[in-house]
């Protein structure tokens, strides 16, 4: 049974009592105020922004701090620390002198987290990898959201065979397990000789666009479904009927009446979808069918580190931690946005 909470209910209605006066506020303003009151969500947002900022500062770190090119092998390289010359890849010890081990974390500017098996600076690669992971994660989520909203508006508003056609198409995509579909698409697209050519469009092999588009496409139905449902419902609401009675065009109905009312749903979904797309990108890259060398992403670095788990675990652990922090931040942020934009769901949960 729902528990009546006067403050929350008043907030939902857009009426707030401030110093004895009743003040009217827009839903967006109220959502903002509710979000700012959620300290956990604010902390998550700050953490996410921080991760984005440091990842996009990767070139600065590589050029001015680590002084390295994290995309080129440095197997025969050396560096100096505390006056000592250290080999980046060190020959194995013991009676037989077998194996070559990359330098471990120095906790200094150069090779802060050590080197990988190619002698590349792991810290710099983790930052560059973050940039690629975030670009793909955010890009594919935005692509998925754009396509899903467009399709959902068309399907929900026009209904009939248009709705049937688009809904079945989405069902078809949904019917495939996400990873199976993504792996299949990636395998086909990545093995195309000399990249992908569609008409005048040429995507070079190794382009970040390939995993971005693949991941974006497979997640379209996950946004399409809830948004279409909402559009179907809104289509029958009084304010839409009133607009129709006033002679509003279809364009105006869609863009001025319906779209603003589904925006909050999309905004709530976005952090969760980004978190999911980042995880998908990491999984595909780990399987060597996402981001392609010489580019790096957190998934490819985890894969690189797998062969060094015994001797240099930080190579795999560092990108793993970044993935966990990013996904955690996005999930908490998503919860906060949902609480702020859709307080009724909080009431329902409590009930």
């Amino acid at each position: 049974m729902a528990v009546f909470e006067p403050e929350a209910e008043i907030g939902t209605l857009g009426i707030e009592e401030v110093g004895g006066e009743v003040v009217g506020r827009s839903p967006w303003e109220l959502a903002g105020r509710r979000f700012l009151r959620n300290k956990l969500a604010i902390a998550a947002a700050v953490l996410f922004v921080l991760i984005v900022a440091v990842s996009f500062a990767a070139p600065l770190y590589a050029n001015y701090v680590a002084d390295t090119d994290p995309f080129v092998s440095n197997l025969s390289g050396t560096f100096t620390q505390n006056g000592k010359t250290i080999e980046v890849i060190q020959q194995g010890t013991g009676t037989l002198g077998l194996g070559e081990t990359p330098v471990g974390p120095t906790w200094h500017a150069k090779y802060f987290l050590g080197a990988d098996s190619q002698g590349r600076d792991v810290a710099a690669r983790v930052l560059y990898g973050g940039r690629a992971s975030l670009e793909i994660g955010i890009g594919s989520a935005v692509l998925a959201a754009l396509l899903a909203v467009v399709f959902a508006l068309i399907a929900g508003f026009f209904g009939g065979w248009t709705d049937n056609l688009l809904s079945r198409l989405m069902d078809l995509i949904w019917a495939f397990p996400v990873y199976l579909l993504a792996i299949s698409l990636a395998t086909v697209l990545l093995t195309a000789p000399n990249g992908l050519k569609i008409g005048f469009l040429h995507v070079s092999p190794g382009s970040l666009w390939i995993p971005l588009v693949i991941i974006g496409i497979v997640y379209v139905p996950y946004i399409f479904r809830p948004v279409r449902g909402q559009v179907l419902s809104l289509r029958e609401r009084e304010f839409v009927e009133a607009a129709i009675a006033q002679g509003a065009s279809n364009r105006r109905l869609v863009f001025s009446e319906i779209l603003p009312n589904v925006a909050s749903t999309v905004i709530v979904l976005m952090p969760l979808i980004i978190a999911t797309t980042i995880l998908t990108e990491a999984a595909l890259s780990y399987l060597s069918i996402g981001v392609q060398a010489p580019q790096a992403s957190w998934g490819t670095i985890v894969e690189d580190g797998q062969a060094l788990l015994y001797t240099r675990p930080w190579v795999a652990i560092a990108p793993g931690i970044m993935i966990v922090l990013t996904v955690l931040a996005l999930n908490v942020l998503g919860d906060g946005l949902r609480d702020a934009l859709d307080p009724r769901s909080k009431l329902r949960t409590k009930g």
């Binding site: 995309f71 080129v72 092998s73 197997l75 025969s76 890849i89 020959q91 194995g92 010890t93 013991g94 009676t95 037989l96 002198g97 077998l98 194996g99 070559e100 081990t101 098996s117 190619q118 990545l190 093995t191 000789p193 000399n194 990249g195 070079s204 092999p205 190794g206 060597s288 392609q292 060398a293 010489p294 797998q306 062969a307 060094l308 788990l309 015994y310 001797t311 240099r312």
Partner: protein, 566 residues
């Protein structure tokens, strides 16, 4: 052949042996061939572990993997065999089921063998000359034997058998006399490598009546062991063949363990741990790079490092831009830091840099390395970036897109990554294409895929220069649009092919003179730079504490039957 994949139709490529004169075994501090002589008591179970069962078919006339061949040499025999000892002697042919190795007659086209008497198969039947004919007809009749059409079609009637396997008849090619125990092979032309080819498992003798179709467990053989279980999802089990009586210690010595087990399903990491803990006696797969230091420090006495007659290389496609340009190929060769590649493989104690096709201590080998700073010594010393840049600038190929193709195994992917970085540094736009090992080799072989730069490796089938030069870079080995085209570089130069043909012809009567010719072929091919030859690898065998009498044979590697676990 290659160690983990097959060759021709099968594409499993796994390698065989390495001729290796262990005396020149490089710098490894413990290049064992026999760590403790062939001593040790008989009995017990030799427990071996591997990630997967041998790829391809269990049928001895189809399988082309070192993993199964190491077992088949314990259960079956050929008319001749490689001597079962360690060191250079191990590459010598000795009579096995035959009483002696015959001299070819009729211009190298006829070989007559006499079978030993009293040898029995593990099903109790006595070996007869007619079994030999049956075996060679079956080789064609099953239709899946990878080298039937390339190695054994030299037998009179062989070509017809390749065309119509079901009706294969070698009445004129293999003439047998059960009463006298003689077998005469008639060849269409002299083949200097015919004896080598009948010393490998494809030609191991099977009893008459073995089904003329692929079998799921190797049929009875004449060796000291027999297969009693072949479950690719679980294990292979060999037990003693009670009908075996040692007839030649050189060709087929009696085995030490009573049972040899090979269990599947363990990762290489887990295999190392099991051997360390004494739960397994030997691991088939190469130990992972991150365990080498631990093995080298804590378990050095259980590690055996042996040089192989094998090569790791990246093949350019000489018919597809940008590497259809000789200067571009030579430029990349000059720029390659082979020491860096050796480091990726495990360091200087596990591999030696090379520039040429033939491996050291191999027939026809003469040190040659033009792609180094200060060439002349025949050894690679350092990359020459200045010369590399000059050549690549002159080639006009800068800025070209290059896909570096490799497989997804850790080491091979790392080798590919190195070249992506190097090619980008040289002005190309390179990216990596890493495919699953089972896909990558056939993908690279098929000219339809227009690969540009592809990783591969090759382990000798038998000690002959043509096994590298002619098979990997001969015109006949380039088969357009086929997954079974081992000449990945698509290299075919008529003058060089003529040199190869002349060397092959001379080999029938004058093997030593032929090897001088092969050395010239090696140099000529290296100058044309169809590959970046990277290094000649060594093999690590990691055995448990209780294993005594470890022996490394250059043809068959670790002789499992000679290891004592009692």
């Amino acid at each position: 052949m290659m160690r983990s994949r097959s060759l021709f139709p099968l594409l499993t490529l796994i390698g065989l042996a390495a001729l290796v004169l262990t005396a020149c075994g490089g710098s490894s501090k413990k290049t064992s061939s026999t760590s403790s002589s062939a001593s040790g008591a008989s009995g017990g179970t030799l427990m071996t572990v591997a990630k997967d069962a041998p790829s391809g078919s269990p049928d001895p006339q189809i399988d082309y993997t070192l993993q199964e061949w190491q077992l088949l040499i314990l259960t079956h025999d050929g008319l001749v065999g490689f001597k079962r000892v360690s060191g250079a002697e191990g590459t010598k042919l000795v009579p096995d089921l035959a009483t002696s190795i015959p001299k070819p007659t009729n211009g190298g086209k006829t070989y007559t063998f006499t079978l030993r008497k009293g040898i029995k198969f593990s099903n109790g039947k006595e070996l007869k000359a007619s079994d030999v004919k049956y075996t060679f007809e079956r080789l064609f009749k099953i239709g899946l034997s990878p080298n039937a059409g390339t190695w054994y079609n030299v037998i009179v009637g062989g070509d017809a058998c390749v065309k119509t396997p079901k009706t294969c008849n070698l009445d004129k090619g293999v003439i047998v006399n059960d009463a006298k125990g003689t077998v005469t092979f008639n060849l269409t032309h002299g083949d200097p490598e015919f004896l080598d080819k009948i010393a490998v498992p494809f030609a191991f003798i099977l009893p008459t009546g073995t089904p003329n179709k692929e079998v799921q467990i190797p049929p009875p053989g004449t060796g000291p062991y027999k297969f009693v279980e072949y479950n690719p999802n679980k294990q292979i089990k060999l037990v003693r063949n009670t009908d075996f009586k040692e007839w030649s210690k050189d060709a087929q010595p009696n085995g030490k363990p009573d049972v040899i087990l090979q269990k599947f399903g363990l990762s290489a990491e887990a295999q190392v741990t099991q051997v360390e803990n004494g739960q397994a006696d030997w691991m088939f797969d190469p130990p992972p790079a991150d365990r080498l230091n631990e093995m080298s420090t804590k378990y050095a006495n259980q590690v055996h490092v042996n040089p192989l007659t094998a090569i790791y290389y990246f093949a350019f496609n000489v018919r597809v831009p940008p590497f259809n340009n000789l200067q571009a190929r030579q430029g990349v060769n000059f720029a390659t830091d082979r020491n860096a590649l050796v480091k990726i493989y495990g360091g200087p104690n596990l591999a030696l840099p090379t520039c040429q096709i033939l491996p050291p201590n191999f027939p026809g080998y003469k040190p040659y390395c033009p792609y180094t700073k200060n060439p002349g010594s025949g050894k690679w010393t350092a990359p020459d970036m200045t010369k590399a840049q000059q050549l690549i600038n002159a080639s006009g190929t800068k800025g070209a897109l290059v896909k570096v193709n490799t497989d997804t195994t850790d080491v091979n992917k790392a080798l590919g990554l190195y070249f992506v970085g190097l090619l980008n540094k040289l002005g190309y736009k390179a990216s990596l294409q890493a495919l699953a090992p089972s896909i990558q080799y056939p993908y690279c072989q098929n000219s339809k895929n227009k690969i540009q730069f592809c990783y591969s490796s090759w382990f000798q089938d038998y000690p002959a220069a043509s096994d590298f030069l002619n098979i990997l870079l001969g015109c006949g080995s380039y088969i357009p649009n086929s997954d079974s085209s081992p000449n990945i570089a698509e290299f075919c130069t008529k003058p060089i092919q003529a040199q190869m043909d002349a060397a092959l012809q001379q080999g029938i009567t004058d093997p030593s003179g032929a090897n001088t010719k092969w050395a010239a072929v090696d140099k000529a091919v290296t100058d044309q730079a169809p590959w970046v030859a990277m290094f000649n690898p060594k093999l690590i065998d990691f055995v448990s504490k209780r294993v005594k009498g470890y022996q490394f044979n250059p043809q068959w590697y670790f002789l499992l039957g000679q290891a004592s676990v009692k």
